[in-house]
Each structure stands twice: as C-alpha cells, then as structure tokens.
C-alpha cells in the first residue's frame, strides 16, 4: 500500500468550493477538481484534491471564511481508493 499525501476536500456549498479554488490559485498552490466519490456522497458539487499540508489549508480557509464539509485522506489498495475522514465540520 502506498501512503498518499493527497487529501480530498468537500465544501459546504458551491460558493465555498469556488472560493477555495480561487484562494489556492492566488496563493500558487496546486490542486485538482475531482468528482465526489460515490462512497462519500451522491450529492451534486465537486471536490478538491490536493497535496497541500493540512495546516496550510486550515490557515487559509479560516482566514478566508471558507466552510469545509469534510477532509479525507486516502490510500490506494488493490487498485481501489480507501477514504478516511480526517476532518469533519462540527
């Protein structure tokens, strides 16, 4: 199994996901837009996948009032991705 620095971030609404993308771009940070995996949710909207450190993300999101729904780490196992929730909005 390969350990992965990549994290999957879900936001509380489209507004917040767009805002997050803008903030990350403005700060020169790399990310990918990705579909929300079915094991997590069937709801509309996209997620962000990024290797940026959690502390950096937290600082940026807090500073900019970006509301995160959840953050997942994942690892690839037998070709499948296994997700582990590492942050949940309270």
């Amino acid at each position: 199994m390969k350990a992965n620095k990549e994290k999957l971030i879900l936001f509380q609404s489209t507004h917040h996901s767009i805002k997050a993308k803008n903030i990350l771009s403005n700060n020169g940070l790399k990310f990918r837009t990705t579909a929300v995996p079915p094991v997590i949710s069937s709801d509309c909207g996209s997620a962000i996948s990024t290797e940026v450190e959690i502390e950096v993300l937290k600082r940026l999101f807090d500073k900019n009032n970006i509301l995160v729904e959840a953050i997942y780490s994942f690892k690839k196992s037998n070709g499948n991705k296994e997700y582990k929730k590492i942050y949940n909005r309270d």
Binding site: A35, V36, D43
Partner: protein, 379 residues
C-alpha cells in the same frame, strides 16, 4: 460541447431571443410605467402584449391573472406560502422537485401543516391516482403535482387530478417546469387553480424569468409586497391583478426574451418541436437499452412524455460518469439527485443517483450518435 441538459435550462436559445433582449436592453431598459416621458420603445405596451401571448398559450382568458416573476420556484413558493395556514393538509407526490418539497417541509415546522407524499407507479411513473383520492380529508386545502417528472420525463394526467380536486373544493397547483412549452396546457379544461411556469426551459427565455397563473387572487396572500407603479398612496398591496403579485422591478429584459422564445415556438409549431425532441429521445433510449450494462429508469416508450430520461452504467456512480463525460468528452449531462430526493429514495437510487439526459430542439442525431459511441467505448 454537446449540451444534453435542457431539463435544467435550454441552451442555446433561438437567435431571435438574444437579439430581442439585447435590442430592448440597449434601447429601453427602463421601468414600465414609472417614467413620465415617452420611451423610444414602449415597454408597457410590449410587456402587455407578451403577457397576453403567454396567457393565450395556456388558454388563460384574462391575462391579468398571469403574473411575471423570477421562475417556477418563485411561483411555487408564492402559492404554497400564500395559500396555506396552520393545520391545512396538502397532498403532493414523491416525484416532486425540492422547490415543492422544501417550502412544504418549512411550513410543516412553521405552520404545522400536514403533508402526504403519494407514491408513483414504477412502470408508468405516473402518480397513484387512487392513493391521491384516498388521502383527501376535511382539512385538505391544496393538491400540488408536477405535470412531468424532471428525472423520468413521464407525464401525469392533469385533467384526472383537476376533476378530483374540483369535486372536493380543493385548490390545484401544477408545477409545469418540465411541460410548459412541451405539452399543451389548458387551465380551464384541466381545472387548474395555479400554474407555475419557468421562462428559461422549454419556453426558450433567459434564466431569471417565469410566470404564475392564479385563478382567484382571494385564495392567497402575496409572497412579496412593495412598489407597483400605481396606487402609491395606498400602503397595503393593491388587491388587483397582476399588481397584487408583481411588487418591485420586473425583469423586463427577461420578459422580452421570453416573448421572443414564445414567438419562436409559435412559428416552428409546438408539435414539430416536440416531434423532433421525441425522435432524438427515442434514438437515445434505443441506444441505452441495447447496452446490457446500462439500466434505464422509468418508461421506455416515447408516448406521453417529455424528452428526459435517466440511466446508470454498471461500475460508475452517476456523478463520476457525469464528471468524466464533461471533462474528457465535453458532453453535458446531469448526475446526482436532480433536486428530487423522494423520487430517488423511492427507487433506491439515493446513493448512486442517476445520469439524466435531456436533449433539446437544437440537438442533432449526430450528437446522439457520438454520445452513444463514447458510452459504448466505456463499457
């Protein structure tokens, strides 16, 4: 880009819609009736004519009963929140969109109303008319039904429901979001009390415009109150239609665009438009059903329906496939739950969702072929 999401909003619009909106906006974007001077283009006259045209389209005899607003969602909220009082009972269905469900659920909390969501037949996807009738009781105030499902495309028999409602003196609200501009609607023949119409779907208007027909304004309080350009000394909303339900600045550019869209439909012929869309839909359904790994939901024949269907491909969630289609092939479909949570719960697809495809008048057979070929390559 191949756009197969016309159930959400139609795209492109007829050229005449862009031209009419731009021309009006550029030369006379002012409020009808509020300026004292002569306008280059008479907005008041234009809006009156379009109101008459839209009213006529739905066989509404008095066009004052047709109000303009921001869309079907506003229309549905206007009726639901304007009609219902504490303790009222509502009958609606599991096919409904969140623009019906959410206002009702809000009123369950705020005004202690009761709501029955009736089942639909899985094969025909029409509401269970027997169950509807059986749910009627003394405090039933309103029946709210979609003319056509935004997920499965199947059409309910409004005349049947109108009869049931009228016999029991119950108000009948129709959500015509998916059927206005597709299936002929006659508010008198169908005994409809309220008709919610979006301007930006099959009527080819811009987003942000819609209409509401109200048979009797005494049956509801307004959702919003404010300036009407008349009766300014009166500090209560004037009890005259359409002013009663048209507070504030109208989306005049939207109305002009809607008028041009309606002209387009009348010129092309409603039947011709529907025929072409059905031809494309049949090709899509035939293609989808030929693939063993694909499940098509709802009925598969092209009788009595709108150009909407939904499916799933084994091994993909609907959102994953929609994402892939959009990002890798530039084909716009709609995955997920389509704001119809009860429908998906009823069919057991609330985890997977469905991939909805809704071709429109401006799509081509070549586009359908390309889509089916791409789908085949993924199987």
């Amino acid at each position: 880009m191949i756009y197969f999401n016309n159930a959400a909003t139609t795209w492109p619009k007829p050229d005449s819609v862009y031209t009419a909106a731009d021309n009006f906006f550029r030369n006379s974007g002012m409020n009808p009736g509020r300026s004292g001077s002569m306008e280059k283009i008479d907005a008041v006259q234009l809006i009156y004519e379009i109101r008459e045209k839209v009213a006529d389209f739905f066989s509404i005899k008095n066009s004052a009963h047709l109000v303009f607003n921001s869309g079907a969602t506003e229309s549905l909220n206007t009726v639901i929140k304007g009609v219902l009082k504490k303790g009222d009972h509502v009958i609606t269905s599991k096919v409904e969109h969140n623009s019906v469900i959410r206002p009702l659920e809000r009123l369950i909390i705020e005004r202690e109303i009761e709501v029955d969501y009736i089942d639909f037949d899985q094969k025909s996807a029409e509401v269970d008319y027997k169950e509807l009738k059986s749910k009627i009781k003394d405090n039933t105030k309103l029946i709210v039904i979609s003319h056509a499902s935004n997920v499965l495309g199947t059409v309910n028999n409004l005349e049947k429901i109108g009869e049931i409602a009228a016999a029991e003196n119950i108000l009948f609200l129709v959500d015509a979001a998916q059927s206005a501009g597709v299936i002929p609607i006659d508010v008198d023949q169908m005994k409809i009390d309220f008709l919610a119409v979006p301007g930006h779907k099959s009527l080819f208007g811009p987003p942000g415009i819609g209409a509401l027909y109200v048979r009797d304004m005494e049956t509801l309080l307004p959702l919003k109150e404010g300036g009407t350009g008349t009766n300014s000394l009166k500090t209560l909303q004037p009890k005259i239609m359409p002013d009663y339900l048209e507070a504030g600045t109208l989306n005049t550019v939207g109305i002009i665009g809607l008028g041009a869209g309606l002209d387009f439909i009348l010129n092309q012929g409603l039947k011709n438009i529907h025929q072409k869309e059905m031809k494309l839909l049949k090709k899509i359904i035939d293609g989808l059903t030929s693939f063993p790994k694909i499940k098509v939901y709802g009925k598969q024949d092209s009788e009595n329906r709108t150009a909407v269907t939904a499916f799933n491909l084994d091994g993909y969630s609907s959102n994953q496939l929609a994402f892939k289609m959009q990002n890798e092939y530039d084909i716009q479909l709609r995955g997920g739950l389509h704001c119809a949570p009860l429908l998906h719960k009823f069919l057991g697809t609330d985890n997977q969702g469905m991939l909805r495809i809704s071709p429109g008048y401006f799509n081509t057979e070549a586009e359908v072929n390309e889509f089916l070929n791409i789908l085949e390559s993924l199987i």
